[in-house]
């Protein structure tokens, strides 16, 4: 098991009109290369902040403390990344990185035989003896994953992430061109094959279509195509299916699962829906009030949750086999 990234003592504070809101408090979490990890929590639990922090997309007004250390093999054939990272000065916390080759110890995370499940207890998690040497490594900006190239991000609202006045084809091609150094015609060819991969009907005409001409589900497919256009190692989907109806949601979830498996991507699936997350993910991290409450393999989280909050979330789920409230309320005639 190889860690792709280790998040240590991550605290994120937003400042707005003089007041401060702590969105994440001392989060410790390892992202395992190639896994499907779900981040679940209710509104305000900090799950989107975590997604943004991992992608390096936090706004400049956010104060970041702690580290995210990456262990990414160097990207070959890619253009040197322009700096699009948020302004993170070392004094405000650092996001460091090191390549796997340069630091063999870095890949060892957790005790051996520990099923990949990191103990949910905070005290144990912060006792990070293994990664210590790595964290003190100098700041390698070149190894920091680049949003778009190394990390694909799919947002909840596809209309917000797509440019309304640019054709679908151009939006996807641009990502490929920028990050892979392809020519425009190569990029368009790639865009077309991506639209085929996300199963958009009639990819040829879709290339020339504008976002408003597509349905919500189709737009989300396009957004996913754009997110994976540069062949990222990590795909982050932040409530990517929440705005869609259940049938389309199931299709998009199946699509994400297929793409991640085919390309060997690491998936970070952010959701408020524990059932949906459990269907897709191998591991689940439960967040509440900015803190990691519980982390474990999906079967363990769903079948034998250790924390009362996780149990409460599971009990609140109303599924097709849940005993109807009507029966309990005695209203069913």
């Amino acid at each position: 098991m190889t860690a792709l990234a280790t998040i240590r003592d991550l605290t994120v504070t937003y400042r707005r009109d003089g007041s401060e809101v702590t969105a994440l408090k001392g989060v410790n979490l390892d992202i395992v290369a190639g896994e499907r990890l779900a981040i679940i929590g209710e509104s305000g639990s900090g799950k989107s902040t975590l997604a943004l922090a991992v992608a390096g997309l936090l706004p400049a007004s956010a104060r970041i403390e702690g580290h995210i250390d990456w262990f990414m093999p160097p990207t070959l054939g890619a253009k040197a990344p322009p700096s699009v990272l948020p302004d993170i000065s070392p004094s405000r916390g650092e996001i460091g990185s090191s390549t796997v080759g340069s630091s063999p110890t870095a890949s060892v995370i957790g005790e051996s035989g520990d099923e990949g499940a990191i103990s949910p207890l905070e005290g144990e998690m912060s006792g990070r003896t293994e990664g210590g040497a790595v964290e003190r490594q100098p700041f390698h900006r070149s190894g920091v994953p680049l949003h778009g190239r190394d990390i694909g991000f799919v947002f909840q609202d596809p209309s917000a992430s797509l440019d309304p006045v640019m054709t679908i084809g151009k939006q996807i091609a641009e990502v490929a061109r920028t990050h892979l150094g392809l020519t425009w015609s190569q990029s368009y060819a790639r865009a077309k094959s991506l639209l085929e991969r996300v199963r958009l009907p009639d990819p040829d005409s879709a290339l020339r279509a504008f976002p408003h001409q597509l349905s919500g589900g189709q737009k989300q497919r396009v957004a996913i195509a754009a997110a994976i256009a540069a062949g990222p190692k990590v795909l982050i989907a932040d409530e990517a299916t929440s705005a869609l109806d259940t049938i389309v949601q199931a299709e998009i979830v199946a699509l994400i699962r297929r793409l991640v498996t085919e390309d060997g991507m690491t998936l970070l699936f952010i959701s408020h829906d524990i059932a949906l997350a459990a269907e897709l993910a191998e591991r689940v991290a439960v967040f509440r009030h900015g803190q990691l409450v519980e982390l474990g393999m999906t079967a363990q989280i769903v079948g034998a949750p250790a924390q009362p909050y996780t149990r409460a979330l599971l009990n609140a789920h109303i599924g097709l086999d849940t005993r109807p409230l009507l029966d309990r309320a005695g209203l069913h005639a």
Partner: protein
Amino acid sequence: MSLLAVSNLTKRYRRGGKTIAAVDDVSFHVDPGETLALAGPSGSGKSTIARLVLRLIEPDDGRIEFESDDFLALRRAALRARRARLQMVFQDPLAAFNPRATVARVLDDPLRIHGIASRAERPRRIAALLERVGLTADLAPRAIHEISGGQRQRVAIARAIATKPSLIVLDEAVSALDVSVRGEILELLLDLQRQEKIAYLFISHDLGVIRSIAHRVILLDAGRVAENGDARTVIDAPQSAIGKALVAAAPRLNRAGP
């Protein structure tokens, strides 16, 4: 005698030169004190039916009978007066209130408009309404944007019951809420139904929730009724294609353990 009887309701929209029937020859009825759920994929016409039933938009065809009257024949003041009996709760409680409003004003409006309580009496009525939906009276002076999403949806329900309606239309009223809050709101709705015999037209895409609280369900597909019947019978063994697809797509939680 049903409370609401909708027959052959049709609403067409023109879009890009094409005419589409958002609601196509739909008939159903709601009995007093029962919950009828409307389910279907996005664009199947659920919200359009809600807006037609509430006379927020006018149908191209069909009849709506409410409390034994021809609801579509009501005009102006008569329609406004009858609205007291037919209320609505929206999906997004923040969008459903004037951004400048306070909790007190939101609840004061229906009481004032329908002459339910005198000016002097209203603060007490507002406090009682807040308590009825599980909130405290000290919330009254707060601005709508200052309270939590769950509290807001309770205020929306308090506003809907202020005029003692016989039917409340809920368009995805619990879909945007956190799951823990959602359970409490559903309990509140059931409690109100039991106490005040209110009927609900409950719109949702969540079959689990529908199966949990609705008596009957109508499955819509492209503006038409695809299937209808007892909520649990339909959801446990759907017959229509859309019913099968909706049930297959519902996320399942396998709690058997590792």
